[in-house]
Symmetry: C2
Subunit: 253 residues, 2 copies
Protein backbone atom coordinates (compact mmCIF):
# COMPACT_ATOMS: atom_id res chain seq x y z
CA UNK A 1 0.00 0.00 0.00
CA UNK A 2 1.05 3.57 -0.71
CA UNK A 3 -0.70 6.25 1.34
CA UNK A 4 -0.76 9.97 0.55
CA UNK A 5 -1.19 11.95 3.75
CA UNK A 6 -2.05 15.64 4.06
CA UNK A 7 -3.73 17.98 6.56
CA UNK A 8 -4.67 21.61 7.13
CA UNK A 9 -2.68 22.30 10.30
CA UNK A 10 0.56 22.25 8.28
CA UNK A 11 3.32 19.69 7.82
CA UNK A 12 4.93 20.57 11.17
CA UNK A 13 1.78 19.80 13.21
CA UNK A 14 1.78 16.96 15.69
CA UNK A 15 -1.25 15.17 14.23
CA UNK A 16 0.15 14.49 10.77
CA UNK A 17 3.47 13.30 12.17
CA UNK A 18 1.94 10.85 14.64
CA UNK A 19 -0.27 9.58 11.81
CA UNK A 20 2.62 9.14 9.35
CA UNK A 21 4.66 7.22 11.87
CA UNK A 22 1.82 4.87 12.80
CA UNK A 23 0.80 4.18 9.19
CA UNK A 24 4.42 3.59 8.11
CA UNK A 25 4.10 0.26 9.94
CA UNK A 26 1.70 -1.00 7.25
CA UNK A 27 2.41 1.09 4.11
CA UNK A 28 4.75 3.35 2.18
CA UNK A 29 3.97 6.93 3.18
CA UNK A 30 4.16 10.15 1.16
CA UNK A 31 3.39 13.39 3.00
CA UNK A 32 2.37 16.44 0.98
CA UNK A 33 1.01 19.13 3.27
CA UNK A 34 0.74 22.90 3.62
CA UNK A 35 3.86 24.70 4.87
CA UNK A 36 1.73 26.42 7.54
CA UNK A 37 -1.71 26.30 9.13
CA UNK A 38 -4.54 26.54 6.60
CA UNK A 39 -7.65 25.84 8.66
CA UNK A 40 -11.09 27.06 7.55
CA UNK A 41 -9.92 27.25 3.94
CA UNK A 42 -12.85 25.15 2.74
CA UNK A 43 -12.30 23.73 -0.72
CA UNK A 44 -10.09 26.66 -1.79
CA UNK A 45 -7.54 26.14 -4.54
CA UNK A 46 -4.73 28.48 -5.51
CA UNK A 47 -5.17 30.01 -8.96
CA UNK A 48 -3.68 33.50 -8.61
CA UNK A 49 -0.10 32.55 -7.80
CA UNK A 50 2.12 29.54 -8.48
CA UNK A 51 2.73 26.77 -5.94
CA UNK A 52 6.19 26.00 -4.59
CA UNK A 53 7.14 22.59 -3.24
CA UNK A 54 9.96 22.03 -0.72
CA UNK A 55 11.20 18.54 0.18
CA UNK A 56 11.34 18.08 3.95
CA UNK A 57 12.20 15.18 6.22
CA UNK A 58 9.49 13.51 8.31
CA UNK A 59 9.92 10.43 10.50
CA UNK A 60 8.23 7.42 8.88
CA UNK A 61 7.64 9.05 5.48
CA UNK A 62 9.45 7.83 2.35
CA UNK A 63 8.92 11.31 0.88
CA UNK A 64 7.58 14.53 2.36
CA UNK A 65 6.89 17.91 0.75
CA UNK A 66 5.78 21.26 2.15
CA UNK A 67 3.57 23.23 -0.28
CA UNK A 68 2.66 26.91 0.02
CA UNK A 69 -0.98 26.18 -0.76
CA UNK A 70 -4.19 24.78 0.67
CA UNK A 71 -4.92 21.13 1.55
CA UNK A 72 -6.86 20.76 -1.73
CA UNK A 73 -3.86 22.15 -3.63
CA UNK A 74 -1.63 19.56 -1.95
CA UNK A 75 -3.78 16.62 -3.05
CA UNK A 76 -4.42 17.95 -6.55
CA UNK A 77 -0.70 18.69 -7.07
CA UNK A 78 0.31 15.27 -5.71
CA UNK A 79 -2.10 13.32 -7.89
CA UNK A 80 -1.55 15.37 -11.03
CA UNK A 81 2.14 16.24 -10.88
CA UNK A 82 4.24 14.99 -7.95
CA UNK A 83 3.46 11.28 -7.60
CA UNK A 84 4.48 8.89 -10.41
CA UNK A 85 1.53 6.56 -9.60
CA UNK A 86 -1.88 6.87 -7.97
CA UNK A 87 -1.65 6.18 -4.22
CA UNK A 88 -3.84 3.50 -2.63
CA UNK A 89 -5.59 6.06 -0.44
CA UNK A 90 -5.59 9.73 0.51
CA UNK A 91 -5.75 10.43 4.25
CA UNK A 92 -6.20 13.90 5.72
CA UNK A 93 -5.36 14.57 9.36
CA UNK A 94 -5.08 14.02 12.21
CA UNK A 95 -6.73 17.42 12.56
CA UNK A 96 -6.36 19.41 15.78
CA UNK A 97 -10.06 20.01 16.56
CA UNK A 98 -13.22 18.23 15.43
CA UNK A 99 -14.79 18.46 11.95
CA UNK A 100 -18.41 17.67 12.69
CA UNK A 101 -21.81 18.22 11.10
CA UNK A 102 -22.36 21.22 8.87
CA UNK A 103 -18.89 22.52 9.81
CA UNK A 104 -17.32 20.16 7.30
CA UNK A 105 -18.30 22.64 4.58
CA UNK A 106 -15.59 24.96 5.97
CA UNK A 107 -13.02 22.26 6.59
CA UNK A 108 -9.72 22.17 4.74
CA UNK A 109 -9.12 18.72 6.26
CA UNK A 110 -12.29 17.28 4.73
CA UNK A 111 -11.83 19.10 1.41
CA UNK A 112 -8.46 17.37 0.93
CA UNK A 113 -10.30 14.03 1.13
CA UNK A 114 -12.90 15.38 -1.32
CA UNK A 115 -10.08 16.12 -3.76
CA UNK A 116 -8.97 12.51 -3.35
CA UNK A 117 -12.38 11.10 -4.26
CA UNK A 118 -12.72 13.52 -7.20
CA UNK A 119 -9.59 11.79 -8.52
CA UNK A 120 -11.06 8.35 -7.85
CA UNK A 121 -8.85 7.51 -4.85
CA UNK A 122 -10.50 6.13 -1.66
CA UNK A 123 -10.08 8.84 0.97
CA UNK A 124 -10.84 9.71 4.54
CA UNK A 125 -10.44 12.62 6.94
CA UNK A 126 -9.67 12.12 10.62
CA UNK A 127 -9.91 14.70 13.40
CA UNK A 128 -9.33 14.72 17.14
CA UNK A 129 -11.82 16.53 19.38
CA UNK A 130 -9.24 18.70 21.15
CA UNK A 131 -7.60 22.05 20.49
CA UNK A 132 -4.11 21.39 21.76
CA UNK A 133 -1.21 18.99 21.27
CA UNK A 134 -2.45 16.68 24.04
CA UNK A 135 -1.61 13.01 24.40
CA UNK A 136 -4.40 11.36 22.39
CA UNK A 137 -3.15 11.65 18.80
CA UNK A 138 -1.86 8.09 19.21
CA UNK A 139 -5.41 6.89 19.88
CA UNK A 140 -6.63 8.52 16.65
CA UNK A 141 -3.63 7.17 14.70
CA UNK A 142 -4.42 3.60 15.80
CA UNK A 143 -8.00 4.06 14.59
CA UNK A 144 -6.74 5.44 11.27
CA UNK A 145 -4.62 2.31 10.84
CA UNK A 146 -7.63 0.08 11.49
CA UNK A 147 -9.70 2.04 8.93
CA UNK A 148 -6.94 1.83 6.30
CA UNK A 149 -6.93 -1.95 6.65
CA UNK A 150 -10.72 -2.12 6.45
CA UNK A 151 -10.88 0.09 3.33
CA UNK A 152 -8.17 -2.05 1.78
CA UNK A 153 -10.32 -5.11 2.50
CA UNK A 154 -13.80 -3.80 1.55
CA UNK A 155 -13.10 -0.80 -0.72
CA UNK A 156 -15.24 2.34 -0.70
CA UNK A 157 -17.95 3.14 -3.28
CA UNK A 158 -16.84 5.83 -5.79
CA UNK A 159 -17.63 9.38 -4.72
CA UNK A 160 -17.87 8.56 -1.01
CA UNK A 161 -15.35 9.56 1.65
CA UNK A 162 -15.28 8.78 5.35
CA UNK A 163 -15.24 11.60 7.88
CA UNK A 164 -13.88 10.34 11.20
CA UNK A 165 -13.89 12.16 14.54
CA UNK A 166 -12.23 10.81 17.68
CA UNK A 167 -13.06 11.93 21.25
CA UNK A 168 -10.11 13.04 23.41
CA UNK A 169 -9.92 10.12 25.80
CA UNK A 170 -7.56 7.18 26.29
CA UNK A 171 -8.39 4.06 24.23
CA UNK A 172 -9.86 2.20 27.20
CA UNK A 173 -12.39 5.02 27.74
CA UNK A 174 -13.67 4.94 24.14
CA UNK A 175 -17.21 3.54 24.04
CA UNK A 176 -16.78 2.09 20.53
CA UNK A 177 -17.10 3.12 16.89
CA UNK A 178 -20.40 4.45 15.61
CA UNK A 179 -21.54 4.95 11.99
CA UNK A 180 -23.25 8.35 12.04
CA UNK A 181 -25.05 11.05 10.07
CA UNK A 182 -23.78 14.64 9.90
CA UNK A 183 -25.36 16.74 12.63
CA UNK A 184 -26.23 20.43 12.56
CA UNK A 185 -23.99 22.98 14.24
CA UNK A 186 -24.83 26.62 14.79
CA UNK A 187 -22.87 29.35 16.53
CA UNK A 188 -23.99 31.95 19.03
CA UNK A 189 -22.55 35.52 19.04
CA UNK A 190 -20.68 34.91 15.86
CA UNK A 191 -18.91 38.24 15.40
CA UNK A 192 -17.01 40.18 18.01
CA UNK A 193 -17.10 43.88 17.01
CA UNK A 194 -14.11 45.96 18.17
CA UNK A 195 -12.62 49.39 17.57
CA UNK A 196 -8.92 49.78 16.75
CA UNK A 197 -6.63 52.47 18.32
CA UNK A 198 -7.41 54.74 15.34
CA UNK A 199 -11.17 54.52 15.89
CA UNK A 200 -11.90 52.11 13.01
CA UNK A 201 -14.27 49.17 13.46
CA UNK A 202 -13.22 45.57 12.83
CA UNK A 203 -14.88 42.17 13.35
CA UNK A 204 -13.47 38.91 14.70
CA UNK A 205 -15.22 35.68 13.82
CA UNK A 206 -15.95 33.97 17.14
CA UNK A 207 -18.96 32.38 18.80
CA UNK A 208 -19.89 29.35 20.87
CA UNK A 209 -21.03 26.12 19.23
CA UNK A 210 -24.65 25.12 19.67
CA UNK A 211 -25.32 21.55 18.58
CA UNK A 212 -28.93 21.50 17.47
CA UNK A 213 -29.24 17.73 17.39
CA UNK A 214 -30.83 15.50 19.93
CA UNK A 215 -30.57 12.55 17.53
CA UNK A 216 -28.05 10.08 18.93
CA UNK A 217 -27.14 8.89 15.42
CA UNK A 218 -25.43 12.19 14.55
CA UNK A 219 -21.65 12.64 14.61
CA UNK A 220 -21.91 15.54 17.06
CA UNK A 221 -23.81 13.44 19.61
CA UNK A 222 -21.66 10.34 19.08
CA UNK A 223 -18.41 12.18 19.88
CA UNK A 224 -20.04 13.92 22.85
CA UNK A 225 -21.09 10.47 24.09
CA UNK A 226 -17.53 9.11 23.84
CA UNK A 227 -17.80 7.18 20.54
CA UNK A 228 -15.49 7.38 17.54
CA UNK A 229 -17.75 8.73 14.78
CA UNK A 230 -17.48 7.58 11.15
CA UNK A 231 -19.76 9.33 8.64
CA UNK A 232 -19.90 8.34 4.96
CA UNK A 233 -20.03 11.61 3.00
CA UNK A 234 -21.06 11.96 -0.67
CA UNK A 235 -20.95 14.89 -3.08
CA UNK A 236 -23.94 14.27 -5.32
CA UNK A 237 -25.30 17.73 -4.60
CA UNK A 238 -28.18 17.76 -7.08
CA UNK A 239 -31.52 17.81 -5.27
CA UNK A 240 -33.53 15.51 -7.57
CA UNK A 241 -36.73 15.92 -5.58
CA UNK A 242 -36.70 19.70 -5.97
CA UNK A 243 -35.93 19.40 -9.71
CA UNK A 244 -39.46 18.11 -10.21
CA UNK A 245 -40.96 21.04 -8.28
CA UNK A 246 -38.96 23.58 -10.30
CA UNK A 247 -40.18 22.09 -13.57
CA UNK A 248 -43.66 23.30 -12.56
CA UNK A 249 -42.53 26.91 -12.19
CA UNK A 250 -43.47 28.94 -15.24
CA UNK A 251 -39.93 29.90 -16.24
CA UNK A 252 -40.19 31.09 -19.81
CA UNK A 253 -37.73 33.71 -20.99
CA UNK B 1 -38.34 42.71 -0.63
CA UNK B 2 -34.82 43.26 0.64
CA UNK B 3 -32.06 41.48 -1.29
CA UNK B 4 -28.51 40.91 -0.04
CA UNK B 5 -26.15 40.67 -3.00
CA UNK B 6 -22.55 39.44 -2.97
CA UNK B 7 -20.07 37.83 -5.37
CA UNK B 8 -16.49 36.55 -5.59
CA UNK B 9 -15.18 38.84 -8.34
CA UNK B 10 -15.20 41.78 -5.92
CA UNK B 11 -17.53 44.73 -5.39
CA UNK B 12 -16.04 46.64 -8.34
CA UNK B 13 -16.81 43.87 -10.88
CA UNK B 14 -19.26 44.50 -13.70
CA UNK B 15 -21.53 41.53 -12.89
CA UNK B 16 -22.55 42.58 -9.38
CA UNK B 17 -23.20 46.16 -10.46
CA UNK B 18 -25.41 45.23 -13.39
CA UNK B 19 -27.28 42.83 -11.07
CA UNK B 20 -27.78 45.43 -8.32
CA UNK B 21 -29.12 47.98 -10.76
CA UNK B 22 -31.57 45.55 -12.37
CA UNK B 23 -32.87 44.18 -9.05
CA UNK B 24 -33.24 47.67 -7.55
CA UNK B 25 -36.30 47.98 -9.80
CA UNK B 26 -38.15 45.43 -7.66
CA UNK B 27 -36.47 45.47 -4.21
CA UNK B 28 -34.29 47.28 -1.70
CA UNK B 29 -30.68 46.23 -2.36
CA UNK B 30 -27.78 45.81 0.07
CA UNK B 31 -24.40 44.92 -1.45
CA UNK B 32 -21.78 43.30 0.79
CA UNK B 33 -18.94 41.94 -1.31
CA UNK B 34 -15.18 41.30 -1.23
CA UNK B 35 -12.94 44.33 -1.81
CA UNK B 36 -11.07 42.35 -4.50
CA UNK B 37 -11.30 39.18 -6.57
CA UNK B 38 -11.70 36.05 -4.44
CA UNK B 39 -12.40 33.32 -6.99
CA UNK B 40 -11.67 29.63 -6.23
CA UNK B 41 -11.90 30.34 -2.49
CA UNK B 42 -14.40 27.52 -1.98
CA UNK B 43 -16.22 27.80 1.32
CA UNK B 44 -13.28 29.52 3.05
CA UNK B 45 -13.92 31.74 6.05
CA UNK B 46 -11.50 34.13 7.69
CA UNK B 47 -10.52 33.10 11.20
CA UNK B 48 -6.86 34.21 11.50
CA UNK B 49 -7.33 37.97 11.08
CA UNK B 50 -10.20 40.38 11.69
CA UNK B 51 -12.51 41.61 8.94
CA UNK B 52 -12.78 45.28 7.99
CA UNK B 53 -15.84 46.78 6.38
CA UNK B 54 -15.78 49.94 4.22
CA UNK B 55 -18.99 51.67 3.09
CA UNK B 56 -18.90 52.34 -0.65
CA UNK B 57 -21.36 53.80 -3.13
CA UNK B 58 -22.96 51.58 -5.79
CA UNK B 59 -25.65 52.62 -8.26
CA UNK B 60 -29.01 51.07 -7.28
CA UNK B 61 -27.94 49.90 -3.81
CA UNK B 62 -29.41 51.43 -0.65
CA UNK B 63 -26.22 50.34 1.16
CA UNK B 64 -22.98 48.83 -0.07
CA UNK B 65 -19.92 47.59 1.82
CA UNK B 66 -16.53 46.26 0.72
CA UNK B 67 -15.14 43.57 3.04
CA UNK B 68 -11.54 42.30 3.08
CA UNK B 69 -12.73 38.69 3.25
CA UNK B 70 -14.22 35.85 1.22
CA UNK B 71 -17.77 35.66 -0.21
CA UNK B 72 -18.78 33.37 2.71
CA UNK B 73 -17.37 35.94 5.16
CA UNK B 74 -19.48 38.64 3.49
CA UNK B 75 -22.75 36.72 3.90
CA UNK B 76 -21.98 35.51 7.43
CA UNK B 77 -20.98 39.01 8.55
CA UNK B 78 -24.06 40.56 6.91
CA UNK B 79 -26.50 38.13 8.47
CA UNK B 80 -24.88 38.03 11.90
CA UNK B 81 -23.65 41.59 12.37
CA UNK B 82 -24.28 44.19 9.64
CA UNK B 83 -27.97 43.89 8.72
CA UNK B 84 -30.61 44.79 11.32
CA UNK B 85 -33.07 42.26 9.81
CA UNK B 86 -32.85 39.07 7.76
CA UNK B 87 -33.01 39.86 4.04
CA UNK B 88 -35.64 38.22 1.84
CA UNK B 89 -32.97 36.46 -0.23
CA UNK B 90 -29.21 36.16 -0.71
CA UNK B 91 -28.02 36.41 -4.31
CA UNK B 92 -24.44 35.74 -5.38
CA UNK B 93 -23.18 36.95 -8.76
CA UNK B 94 -23.30 37.66 -11.59
CA UNK B 95 -20.06 35.69 -11.76
CA UNK B 96 -17.62 36.24 -14.60
CA UNK B 97 -17.26 32.61 -15.79
CA UNK B 98 -19.48 29.56 -15.36
CA UNK B 99 -19.91 27.54 -12.14
CA UNK B 100 -20.92 24.16 -13.46
CA UNK B 101 -20.91 20.54 -12.32
CA UNK B 102 -18.32 19.39 -9.81
CA UNK B 103 -16.56 22.77 -10.10
CA UNK B 104 -19.11 24.28 -7.71
CA UNK B 105 -17.12 22.69 -4.85
CA UNK B 106 -14.39 25.27 -5.55
CA UNK B 107 -16.73 28.17 -6.13
CA UNK B 108 -16.74 31.20 -3.88
CA UNK B 109 -19.87 32.37 -5.71
CA UNK B 110 -21.82 29.23 -4.84
CA UNK B 111 -20.46 29.06 -1.28
CA UNK B 112 -21.89 32.52 -0.56
CA UNK B 113 -25.33 31.11 -1.43
CA UNK B 114 -24.59 28.07 0.78
CA UNK B 115 -23.94 30.47 3.68
CA UNK B 116 -27.33 32.04 2.97
CA UNK B 117 -29.18 28.71 3.19
CA UNK B 118 -27.22 27.73 6.34
CA UNK B 119 -28.82 30.84 7.86
CA UNK B 120 -32.26 29.87 6.55
CA UNK B 121 -32.45 32.53 3.82
CA UNK B 122 -33.53 31.46 0.28
CA UNK B 123 -30.46 31.89 -1.90
CA UNK B 124 -29.17 31.50 -5.42
CA UNK B 125 -25.92 31.86 -7.34
CA UNK B 126 -25.84 33.15 -10.92
CA UNK B 127 -22.92 32.96 -13.35
CA UNK B 128 -22.33 34.01 -16.95
CA UNK B 129 -20.48 31.63 -19.26
CA UNK B 130 -17.84 34.15 -20.39
CA UNK B 131 -14.47 35.29 -19.08
CA UNK B 132 -14.61 38.98 -19.95
CA UNK B 133 -16.79 42.02 -19.34
CA UNK B 134 -18.79 41.41 -22.52
CA UNK B 135 -22.28 42.73 -23.21
CA UNK B 136 -24.45 39.89 -21.82
CA UNK B 137 -24.54 40.63 -18.08
CA UNK B 138 -27.88 42.38 -18.77
CA UNK B 139 -29.30 39.09 -20.06
CA UNK B 140 -28.26 37.30 -16.86
CA UNK B 141 -29.58 40.16 -14.69
CA UNK B 142 -33.01 39.93 -16.34
CA UNK B 143 -33.08 36.19 -15.59
CA UNK B 144 -32.06 36.86 -11.98
CA UNK B 145 -35.00 39.25 -11.67
CA UNK B 146 -37.39 36.62 -13.00
CA UNK B 147 -36.01 34.03 -10.54
CA UNK B 148 -36.32 36.45 -7.58
CA UNK B 149 -40.00 36.94 -8.40
CA UNK B 150 -40.55 33.17 -8.75
CA UNK B 151 -38.82 32.38 -5.44
CA UNK B 152 -40.91 35.11 -3.81
CA UNK B 153 -44.03 33.43 -5.21
CA UNK B 154 -43.20 29.73 -4.59
CA UNK B 155 -40.49 29.79 -1.88
CA UNK B 156 -37.58 27.34 -1.80
CA UNK B 157 -37.40 24.25 0.45
CA UNK B 158 -35.01 24.73 3.42
CA UNK B 159 -31.44 23.67 2.70
CA UNK B 160 -31.75 24.01 -1.08
CA UNK B 161 -30.15 26.71 -3.22
CA UNK B 162 -30.40 27.33 -6.94
CA UNK B 163 -27.26 27.37 -9.07
CA UNK B 164 -27.91 29.27 -12.30
CA UNK B 165 -25.66 29.49 -15.35
CA UNK B 166 -26.40 31.66 -18.36
CA UNK B 167 -24.88 31.17 -21.85
CA UNK B 168 -23.20 34.22 -23.41
CA UNK B 169 -25.73 35.03 -26.10
CA UNK B 170 -28.33 37.75 -26.63
CA UNK B 171 -31.77 37.02 -25.11
CA UNK B 172 -33.34 36.17 -28.47
CA UNK B 173 -30.74 33.44 -29.01
CA UNK B 174 -31.42 31.69 -25.65
CA UNK B 175 -33.16 28.36 -26.24
CA UNK B 176 -35.03 28.50 -22.91
CA UNK B 177 -34.55 27.62 -19.24
CA UNK B 178 -33.72 24.05 -18.28
CA UNK B 179 -33.83 22.42 -14.83
CA UNK B 180 -30.64 20.36 -14.68
CA UNK B 181 -28.42 18.03 -12.66
CA UNK B 182 -24.79 18.85 -11.87
CA UNK B 183 -22.48 17.41 -14.51
CA UNK B 184 -18.95 16.13 -14.10
CA UNK B 185 -15.98 18.27 -15.09
CA UNK B 186 -12.40 17.08 -15.31
CA UNK B 187 -9.29 18.93 -16.43
CA UNK B 188 -6.50 17.84 -18.73
CA UNK B 189 -2.82 18.87 -18.10
CA UNK B 190 -3.71 20.35 -14.77
CA UNK B 191 -0.32 21.67 -13.63
CA UNK B 192 2.15 23.65 -15.69
CA UNK B 193 5.64 23.04 -14.24
CA UNK B 194 8.12 25.89 -14.71
CA UNK B 195 11.57 26.90 -13.48
CA UNK B 196 12.18 30.39 -12.12
CA UNK B 197 15.24 32.54 -13.02
CA UNK B 198 17.02 31.16 -9.92
CA UNK B 199 16.54 27.55 -11.00
CA UNK B 200 13.69 26.72 -8.58
CA UNK B 201 10.64 24.76 -9.72
CA UNK B 202 7.11 26.12 -9.39
CA UNK B 203 3.68 24.93 -10.56
CA UNK B 204 0.78 26.86 -12.10
CA UNK B 205 -2.70 25.37 -11.88
CA UNK B 206 -3.97 25.28 -15.47
CA UNK B 207 -5.61 22.69 -17.74
CA UNK B 208 -8.40 22.41 -20.28
CA UNK B 209 -11.92 21.44 -19.23
CA UNK B 210 -13.19 18.04 -20.30
CA UNK B 211 -16.93 17.66 -19.76
CA UNK B 212 -17.47 13.97 -19.20
CA UNK B 213 -21.23 14.06 -19.60
CA UNK B 214 -23.23 13.10 -22.61
CA UNK B 215 -26.43 13.37 -20.59
CA UNK B 216 -28.45 16.31 -21.94
CA UNK B 217 -30.00 16.90 -18.49
CA UNK B 218 -26.70 18.10 -16.98
CA UNK B 219 -25.89 21.77 -16.43
CA UNK B 220 -22.71 21.50 -18.53
CA UNK B 221 -24.62 20.19 -21.57
CA UNK B 222 -27.56 22.59 -21.12
CA UNK B 223 -25.31 25.68 -21.22
CA UNK B 224 -23.34 24.28 -24.16
CA UNK B 225 -26.67 23.77 -25.96
CA UNK B 226 -27.71 27.40 -25.38
CA UNK B 227 -30.09 26.94 -22.42
CA UNK B 228 -30.11 28.81 -19.12
CA UNK B 229 -29.36 26.09 -16.55
CA UNK B 230 -30.97 26.02 -13.10
CA UNK B 231 -29.82 23.25 -10.73
CA UNK B 232 -31.33 22.78 -7.26
CA UNK B 233 -28.39 22.03 -4.94
CA UNK B 234 -28.65 20.51 -1.45
CA UNK B 235 -26.09 19.99 1.32
CA UNK B 236 -27.30 16.83 3.01
CA UNK B 237 -23.91 15.19 2.55
CA UNK B 238 -24.51 12.03 4.59
CA UNK B 239 -24.54 8.96 2.35
CA UNK B 240 -27.32 6.98 4.04
CA UNK B 241 -26.95 4.01 1.68
CA UNK B 242 -23.27 3.55 2.54
CA UNK B 243 -24.02 3.87 6.29
CA UNK B 244 -25.69 0.48 6.15
CA UNK B 245 -22.69 -1.10 4.41
CA UNK B 246 -20.26 0.33 6.97
CA UNK B 247 -22.30 -1.11 9.82
CA UNK B 248 -21.31 -4.54 8.50
CA UNK B 249 -17.58 -3.77 8.76
CA UNK B 250 -16.11 -5.31 11.87
CA UNK B 251 -14.96 -2.06 13.47
CA UNK B 252 -14.31 -2.89 17.09
CA UNK B 253 -11.65 -0.93 18.91
Amino acid sequence: MHLLITNDDGIYAKGIRVLAKELSMIAKITLVAPDRERSATGHAITVHYPLRVEPVSVDGAADAYAVDGTPSDCVKLSLEALLPDKPTMVISGINRGPNLGTDILYSGTVSAAVEGIIHGVPSFAISLDCFDDGPYYDVAAAIAKKVVLKINEHGLPPGVLLNINVPTVPTEKLRGIKITTLGTRRYRNVFDKRVDPRGRTYYWLAGDVIDLDDDIDTDTMAVKDGFVSITPVHFDLTDYRVMEQLKNWDLTI
